[in-house]
Amino acid sequence: MEKLKFQFQSFQDLLFMEDHGIYVWGVYLAATILMSIFYLVIDNKLKKTKSGE
């Protein structure tokens, strides 16, 4: 097993990830946003239904 250590030298390096950054960050961002929207919609509807609208 290789040791788990921080893999990037600088912030730039972390952001671009040798030109793969756009894909990696894009996927993580999109998935997080989608799941958050799902959660918020359900939460909102639940509150509305509870208050009897």
Binding site: M1, E18, A31, L34, M35
Partner: protein
């Protein structure tokens, strides 16, 4: 034993249990996901062939696993509803379908983005992608069918039948990569045999899978509470 099983049968007990465990499951799930994703994104070693783009695995694989597991979950509840008339069966099926729909979409989406740097194409009509896409359509279809009947009993019965027949698709997805020679790689991790990826990459993956499982379970609890309130209204 009876106390354990009661929430599975009675709606009232179910709500009580639901509200009790929801915050813990949700928080613990988010905690595990964050650990898994942070180690996966920043600390796991770079893949020799795919470079940094392989880090998408920590989203793609958990989502793909749960897209199929959720369908099994739905099928089991549908079966129990049809055979033993368990009241919360349809509730579980429909709330899982909402989540399954989202999860399958993310699995497809993350897979196609991952395909751009590694395969050079975002879509390929290979066996696994196509059958996952069919799974996504099935989730949407189930929700449409369930939503289009005013009579909830009728809607629940029909949805349960369609869910049960749709189970034939799941083994096809699972085995498609082994049966047809396609672009998609075979599974890297397996319970039965030794995994083909390094332990330092595997640990964050396992943590993300567990975390996502808990998070989705918590979401499911929330959706089912919403559906229950709506059922009571009508």
């Amino acid at each position: 034993m009876r106390n354990l099983l009661l929430p599975l049968v009675s709606v009232k007990e179910y709500i009580a249990l639901n509200q009790k465990i929801y915050p813990f499951v949700m928080l613990f799930g988010i905690f595990l996901i964050s650990i898994g994703w942070i180690t996966g994104l920043f600390f796991a070693p770079v893949d020799a062939i795919q470079g940094h783009s392989y880090r998408i695995i920590y989203i793609h694989v958990p989502m793909a696993i749960f897209s199929q597991l959720i369908y099994w979950f739905m099928a089991i509840w549908s079966f129990s509803f049809l055979v033993w008339k368990i009241k919360i069966g349809p509730l579980m099926t429909i709330s899982a379908a909402y989540i399954g729909c989202m999860v399958t979409f993310i699995a497809l989406f993350s897979g196609s983005i991952w395909g751009i740097p590694t395969w050079g194409t975002w879509w390929q009509w290979d066996a696994r992608i196509t059958s996952t896409f069919i799974l996504f359509i099935m989730y949407v279809a189930l929700l449409t069918v369930n939503g289009s009947f005013q009579n909830t009993y009728k809607a629940d019965q029909i949805t349960a039948w369609i869910t049960l027949i749709g189970v034939i698709n799941i083994p096809i997805i699972k085995k498609s990569v082994d049966w047809w020679s396609t672009l998609h790689q075979p599974a890297s991790i397996s319970l039965a045999s030794e995994s083909s990826i390094d332990l330092s990459m595997l640990i964050p993956l396992v943590i993300s899978i567990l975390g996502l499982g808990l998070f989705l379970f918590a979401l499911g609890l929330k959706v089912s509470r919403l559906l229950l309130l709506k059922y009571e209204e009508t």
